[in-house]
């Protein structure tokens, strides 16, 4: 039944003027880049043409009367005021047209509701006023905020091409795979819409909603929140990057790694003893070659760390030199070479070993934050 209905819908849609006639103007809906969006576009064009034809007929009769049945032109009024046959016909014919229209509409709706067999699952949470995307099978997530500068909104700067439709961290999904979205909200009702996908679903606090898409073409697709959610309802866009599968997998791997690192940093409460133990190991691997295992170094080329101002006084300067190195010397920038955990451990170790005994420690999170501030 579903197949027949789909075929009927495709036939009906195909008979009606195809997408090419309207697709490039901003007069019409986009056919989009998914099967769903194209089916919706066909339904839209079909019902539009039905309405146009009915309108032309009905208004045609009316305009004819306005022209030909004017008293000023000498028209005399007829007296008829009913015709049962005509009335039955113009009740039944619209009814039949509607039934015919309902069949492909039903098929498309059934299809849109089928969220089974998805390959990627993403949780979308609406906040006032931003979206959060969590890749639930991959254990990472992030927020997506409007990135249009305030200056543009307040007319102090010329508006960019994607004014109000750009974000800091877009959603990334693979092309050609069925992606299932699980939607909820943190505070009030929001709604997630990407016109090019033909996907819109309300995000309701305390409840989980489902929808899905399968994007056929790589690209960047932009949408907006479509449920009034407070003052910045118009300022929380949706941006989705659909990329080829390998690119997606690489991106996911990168994000997972970053998330794992972040988790290591924030979820673990590092004790001094743990940092010292790890720091000693890291020091041996990365620093002892120049600064010696006992911290005495080989001045002047490799300063001593034992008793040095760098390792016992200003913490910020110590972090800076380890992370960023010192130009003009052999001291490299270890910020990119060592993980945040190792950097924190090594600095903690240097500040407490060999009698330095500052009692101070640096956490991996602090290093992470320091690096992000730069």
């Amino acid at each position: 039944m579903r197949v027949h209905a789909q075929r009927a819908g495709a036939l009906l849609g195909g008979l009606m003027f195809p997408a090419w006639s309207m697709a490039d103007w901003t007069l019409n809906m986009t056919p989009g880049v998914t099967g769903t969006s194209n089916e919706i576009f066909s339904l839209h064009m079909t019902i539009l043409w039905i309405c146009v034809v009915i309108g032309v007929v009905v208004f045609g009769v009316m305009f004819w009367s306005i022209f030909a049945h004017r008293k000023s032109q000498g028209a005399k009024p007829a007296n008829f005021h009913e015709n049962t046959l005509v009335e039955i016909l113009w009740t039944i014919i619209p009814f039949v047209i509607l039934v015919v229209m309902a069949i492909p509409a039903t098929a498309t709706l059934v299809d849109m509701y089928d969220t089974t067999e998805s390959e990627v699952d993403i949780k979308v949470t609406g906040y006032q006023w931003k979206w959060q995307y969590e890749y639930i099978n991959e254990d990472f997530g992030y927020f997506s905020n409007l990135s249009t500068p305030r200056d543009q909104i307040e007319n102090r700067q010329a508006k960019g091409e994607n004014y109000l439709l750009e974000v800091d961290n877009p959603l990334v999904i693979p092309v050609g795979k069925k992606v299932r979205f699980l939607l909820t909200a943190n505070d009030v009702i929001h709604s997630w819409w990407v016109p090019d996908f033909g996907v819109k679903k309300d995000a309701i606090p305390g409840f989980i909603n489902e929808t899905w898409t399968r994007v056929d073409e790589p690209g960047i697709y932009r949408g907006q929140c479509t449920e009034l959610c407070g003052k910045d309802h118009g300022f929380m866009p949706v941006v989705v990057e659909a990329v080829p599968e390998e690119e997606y997998n690489a991106w996911v791997a990168e994000k997972k790694e970053a998330a794992e690192r972040e988790r290591q940093l924030t979820q673990k409460d590092w004790t001094m003893a743990e940092l010292m133990e790890r720091g000693e190991k890291a020091y041996q691997t990365a620093c002892a070659a120049c600064h010696q295992a006992d911290g005495s170094g080989a001045p002047p080329a490799f300063p001593a760390l034992k008793g040095s101002p760098i390792a016992t006084q200003d913490m910020a300067a110590h972090i800076d030199i380890v992370v960023n190195g010192k130009s003009g010397t052999s001291m490299q920038a270890f910020g990119n070479q060592l993980s945040e955990v190792d950097l924190a451990a090594v600095i903690t170790y240097e500040r407490n070993a060999w009698g330095n005994n500052t009692g101070e420690m640096v956490t991996p999170k602090e290093i992470f934050d320091y690096k992000n501030q730069q």
Partner: protein
Amino acid sequence: MAVTGVFMSAVADTHAQDHHHGPAKGISRWLLTTNHKDIGTMYLIFSFAMFLLGGTMAMVIRAELFQPGLQIVQPEFFNQMTTMHGLIMVFGAVMPAFVGLANWMLPLMIGAPDMALPRMNNWSFWLLPCAFLILVSTLFMEGGAPNFGWTFYAPLSTTYGPPSTTFFIFAVHIMGISSIMGAINVIATILNLRAPGMTLMKMPLFVWTWLITAFLLIAVMPVLAGVVTMMLMDINFGTSFFDASGGGDPVLFQHVFWFFGHPEVYIMILPAFGAVSHIIPAFSRKPLFGYASMVYAVGAIALLSFVVWAHHMFTVGIPIVGQLFFMYATMLIAVPTGVKVFNWVATMFRGSLTFEAPMLFAVAFVILFTIGGFSGLMLAIAPADFQYHDTYFVVAHFHYVLVPGAIFGIFASAYFWLPKWTGHMYDETLAKTHFWLSFIGMNLAFFPMHFLGLAGMPRRIPDYALQFADFNMVSSVGAFMFGATQLLFLLIVVKCIKGGKEAPAKPWDGAEGLEWTVSSPAPYHTFATPPEVK
């Protein structure tokens, strides 16, 4: 007070007809009147004032949307404007205008001396200025006026609403009581006070549509009262009707609200259907085509209106069986509505047409309301609605059915019956000017909104992406034009009240009905003895 002066002179002419002293003098006349004509007048004046107020808010909205960027107002205030514009237009302009027309014309049309419950009638009216004083005063309260849309979905309106929300609820209750009392009055009047011989199927269409509208009001205004009471309880008394954390459901709000909300939009259009069903036959000099089907169609529309509410909720996550049911039921409403449009056209066909102002507005009503109906049919297609919902396509749809629908219906009625009310013909040239400027302005304002919605512009946003700029500018220009033109209407009405060509009892040669048998202006008391209806 030029207005009262005119009405008093109208009364003085008919002093011989009754043995009372005529209306009281001064302000107490208006405060204490139980006369349906006076009360009708007050409703109409009140509704026009609210129309101008709500229209001013629309001007603020369109001024901000004239260009991308935030120029004039901040988003918080913009949301107050959209909310108040909707509330004032729906509850302050359209509904009271139709009640005003009902008050003036129903007794005249059925040959009754007044409404069935004249004192309740007075109270029904005076509740309205009180309610709207409260509502409008929220603009000046701390936190501002309601800012959650006229549809006030929870939890935005409950947990996250401004302090004035409680006053909003209070205003809605008062206004609801007014509507309910008005509806009871209409039903009692129509069922009990018809002149002998006027059976139900001999009633004029305006009477029929108001009878059915009154039943709709009785059925759904209490549900609105219920939902705002639940809101009040959630906000102030710790209940969790709509709060998931307490076991409630925000979607429940939407179900209850739209159970009221959908019949409400039919409440806002059925009386216009009735009025237009008087005007088109009059100016076609031909009887209304298919009287019986017109009556059945209105009945069918009213019944169906109770089972389509969730078409406002296609994207909330209703299971597919529900979506399909509501889609089919909504599509079905197109059938009786279409029948009415065909009947109006068939009335005009082979008539002898003239195009005075009432007919201009009535013909524009048929064409443009039908266009609104088409976009409504498109919205009914549930899968397509996922692309239309909460975009400017919806805004275009409902402005087409409400502005050239309800509002033009009211203008048409006003021009049609002004001679009866005032005893003078209005200035036909100015009225035609009002029509053409309104027609052009309205189309410029709202037709581009179809394109904006299809191109992806959401509703209720104070600023938009650059691809929406051109049509927004056109729309704003049209809106300013439409808004300014309504001041011309004010001028026309005032001018007509003050003077003009004397109007006979029946200024429109094709008009039918008991209302045209009394002199113009209608005497203060009419049909003290009921007429015989054959």
